[in-house]
C-alpha cells in the first residue's frame, strides 16, 4: 500500500518532467540540422547545377534580387562562373562528412583511452593523462594547421587531423565518468561474478557513459565544422575545386567589394548550422544529463 502511494506521484512527476522537456524541444534547430543532413545526402538531387561547371561569361553574377542577377543563379555565381547555391549544397556534404568522421575518430580514440585510463589507474592513467594535458595545452588551431600541412591537404587527412587534435577532450570526460562508476556496487558484483575487465568495461561501464558522450558529440560537431571551415579558409583543408564552406569564404575574401555574396552565404550557412547544433546540444544536455549543466 505504502509503496503504491509513493510511486504514483513519482510517476506523475516523471511525466511532468518529460512533458516540459518536450515543450522546450528545439524544433527549429532540429529542422535545420535535418535539412542539412538531407541536403548533404541528396545533394545531386537539390543542386540546380554541377558545383564544378565553369562558365566564364557568367562569372561574378549577383544573387537574383540584386540588379544584374537572374533567377537562373539564385545566389549568384563565383569567380569562375560556378553556381554558388550548388556549391553551397555540395559543401554541406563535405562539412558533415568531416564532422561526423572526425568525431568518430576522436570519439573512438578518446573513449578507449578514457575507459582504460579510468579503469586501470596507476601508471597507465598517469601516462594517458599527461598525453591528454599535452594535447589540450597545444594551441589546437596551430596544431591542426601544422598537421594539415604535414599530411598534405586532403579529405581523409583532414579527418585524421580532427581525430588527433580532439581525442583528449573525450578521454578526459570519459575517464571522469568511469572513475565515478567504477566504485559502484554493480561493478564489484560483476567482478565477483568473474567478468573479465574487458567485459566490465564494454558491458557495464560503457552503457552508462553514452549520455555524456552524446552531449559532448553534439557540441563538438559544431566545433569541428568551425575548425574544418577555418582550415579550408587557410587553404589547409580539402583542396579546391571541391566545394567547402570555409573555402568559399576564403575565395570571396578578396572580392568583398565586387562580390560580397561569395563569402556571405557560405559563412551564414556555417553559422546557422553551428547555432542549431549548439541549441540542440543545450537541450540534449538538460534532458539527458542535467549535472553537466555547469560545464
Amino acid at each position: 500500500m505504502a509503496r503504491a502511494a509513493q510511486t504514483k506521484p513519482q510517476i506523475k512527476n516523471r511525466i511532468r518532467i518529460a512533458a516540459t522537456a518536450l515543450k522546450r524541444f528545439p524544433a527549429i534547430p532540429v529542422a535545420i540540422i535535418l535539412a542539412l543532413v538531407l541536403t548533404a545526402i541528396f545533394a545531386d538531387f537539390w543542386a540546380p547545377y554541377s558545383p564544378y561547371d565553369q562558365s566564364l561569361p557568367n562569372r561574378l553574377k549577383p544573387p537574383f534580387w540584386v540588379e544584374g542577377g537572374s533567377t537562373e543563379h539564385l545566389l549568384g555565381t563565383d569567380l569562375l562562373g560556378r553556381d554558388v547555391l550548388s556549391r553551397l549544397i555540395f559543401g554541406a556534404r563535405i562539412s558533415l562528412l568531416v564532422a561526423l568522421m572526425g568525431i568518430l575518430v576522436a570519439g573512438s580514440i578518446g573513449a578507449v583511452f578514457g575507459v582504460v585510463s579510468g579503469f586501470y589507474g596507476g601508471k597507465v592513467d598517469a601516462l594517458i593523462m599527461r598525453a591528454c594535458d599535452a594535447t589540450l595545452s597545444l594551441p589546437i588551431i596551430l596544431l591542426a594547421l601544422l598537421l594539415a600541412v604535414i599530411f598534405g591537404p586532403s579529405l581523409a587527412n583532414l579527418i585524421y587531423v580532427m581525430g588527433l587534435v580532439l581525442w583528449a577532450r573525450y578521454a578526459r570526460v570519459v575517464r571522469g565518468e568511469v572513475l565515478s562508476w567504477k566504485e559502484q556496487d554493480f561493478i564489484a558484483y560483476a567482478r565477483v561474478a568473474g567478468a573479465s575487465p574487458l567485459r566490465i568495461m564494454i558491458r557495464h561501464i560503457f552503457p552508462n557513459i553514452v549520455n555524456t558522450l552524446m552531449v559532448l558529440i553534439t557540441f563538438q560537431t559544431g566545433y569541428v565544422i568551425i575548425l574544418e571551415s577555418f582550415l579550408s579558409f587557410l587553404g589547409a583543408g580539402v583542396p579546391p575545386p571541391t566545394p567547402t564552406w570555409g573555402g568559399m569564404v576564403a575565395e570571396g575574401r578578396g572580392y568583398i567589394i565586387t562580390g560580397w555574396w561569395l563569402s556571405v552565404f557560405s559563412g551564414l550557412a556555417i553559422s546557422l548550422v553551428v547555432l542549431s547544433l549548439n541549441l540542440f546540444g543545450d537541450w540534449l544536455r538538460d534532458y539527458l544529463d542535467p549535472k553537466l549543466r555547469q560545464v
Partner: protein, 299 residues
C-alpha cells in the same frame, strides 16, 4: 611540487611532439632553393642548416638551445627566432589585452544583468549574444566586420597594426566570441549565488540591492570563472591566431601561419613551444593562486 613535475613532463611531451611534427612537414629546402639547384647545392645547404645530423642529435641540440633561450635561427628571415618572437609578441599581447577587456566588460555586465533580471529582455539579449558568439566562426565575423565598417561605412581600417582605430575591429570581433562562454558561465553561477543563504541574509540586513549584487554575490560568482581560466586561455590563444591571420595583424599567430606556409621549422617550433610554455606557466600560476585563495583546495 607534484604539479610542477607534471607541468615539466607535459612540456617535454610537447617539445618532442612539436619537434617531430615540424620535421615531418616536408623539406624546407624545396621551398628555399631555386628549381635548378643541384644535388651538391642541397647537400651544402643541408649541412649548413644542421639538417644532415641524425634526428635524435638534432632534438638534443634543439632542447639544449631552447633551455638557454636560443630557439634557433629562422631559415627564411635569417634572424634568431627568439628575436622574431620578441618583435611580434607585444602586438599579440596588446591585441589579447584589448580583447580580454572587451570580453570581460561584456561578460560582466550582460552576465550579471541576465542573472539578476532572469527572463527579462536583457536575459534574452545576452543569451542571443552568447549563443551567436559561440556559433559564428571568428574569421567570417571578421570579414563581415571589414565589409561593414571598412568597405561600406569607411569608418575603420581593415588590416595591419597601427593607432587605436586599428584595434577596434579585431578586439571587438575577438572579444565578442571570447565573452560568449564566460557570459553563460557567469549567468549560471550568479543565479546560484543569488539563491544562497548569505545573499538573502545581506538583503534582510538591509544592504542596498546594488551592493548585494556587485559586492557580495559577484565576488563568489567569479570563482568558477577562475576555475576555467585555463580553458579560456586556450580559447583566447586560438582566437588570437585566427583574428591575426584575417586582419593581417603582425603578431605571433600570423608569424606561425607564415612559418607553416614557408616550412620554416625553427620558427614553427619556436612559436608553438613559446605559446605552449606560456599557457602552461599561466595555468600553473592560476592553480597555485587558486589554492592560495581557497584553502579548501590542495594539490
Amino acid at each position: 611540487m607534484i604539479r610542477l613535475l607534471q607541468a615539466a613532463a607535459t612540456l617535454f611531451f610537447v617539445s618532442m611532439l612539436i619537434f617531430c611534427l615540424a620535421r615531418l612537414t616536408g623539406d624546407p629546402l624545396d621551398v628555399m632553393l631555386p628549381m635548378e639547384a643541384s644535388e651538391e647545392d642541397y647537400a651544402r645547404a643541408r649541412k649548413h642548416l644542421g639538417l644532415d645530423k641524425p634526428l635524435p642529435v638534432q632534438y638534443g641540440i634543439y632542447v639544449a638551445q631552447a633551455v638557454t633561450g636560443d630557439l634557433g635561427t629562422s631559415i627564411r628571415a635569417k634572424i634568431p627566432v627568439s628575436q622574431l618572437i620578441m618583435e611580434r609578441l607585444p602586438n599579440s599581447l596588446r591585441l589579447a589585452g584589448f580583447s580580454i577587456s572587451v570580453a570581460l566588460s561584456l561578460a560582466l555586465v550582460l552576465g550579471v544583468a541576465a542573472a539578476v533580471k532572469k527572463g527579462s529582455i536583457v536575459d534574452t539579449i545576452s543569451r542571443i549574444l552568447a549563443v551567436s558568439g559561440m556559433s559564428i566562426p571568428i574569421f567570417w565575423l571578421a570579414i563581415m566586420a571589414i565589409l561593414l565598417f571598412s568597405v561600406k561605412l569607411r569608418l575603420l581600417p581593415s588590416s595591419r597594426a597601427g593607432g587605436i582605430e586599428h584595434y577596434i575591429l579585431p578586439a571587438f570581433v575577438l572579444g565578442w566570441s571570447f565573452s560568449a562562454p564566460m557570459m553563460r558561465l557567469l549567468r549560471s553561477s550568479m543565479l546560484e549565488v543569488l539563491d544562497s543563504e548569505y545573499v538573502k541574509l545581506a538583503q534582510i540586513k538591509g544592504v542596498s540591492k546594488w551592493w548585494v549584487i556587485w559586492g557580495h554575490a559577484l565576488r563568489n560568482a567569479l570563482i568558477p570563472l577562475i576555475t576555467f581560466a585555463g580553458f579560456y586561455l586556450g580559447l583566447l590563444v586560438g582566437g588570437v591566431v585566427v583574428t591575426e591571420t584575417v586582419f593581417a595583424w603582425p603578431g605571433l599567430g600570423l608569424l606561425a601561419y607564415e612559418a607553416v606556409v614557408w616550412r620554416d621549422y625553427p620558427v614553427i617550433q619556436g612559436v608553438v613551444l613559446f605559446i605552449t610554455t606560456a599557457v602552461l606557466t599561466i595555468n600553473l600560476s592560476v592553480d597555485v593562486l587558486y589554492a592560495y585563495l581557497d584553502p579548501r583546495i590542495r594539490y
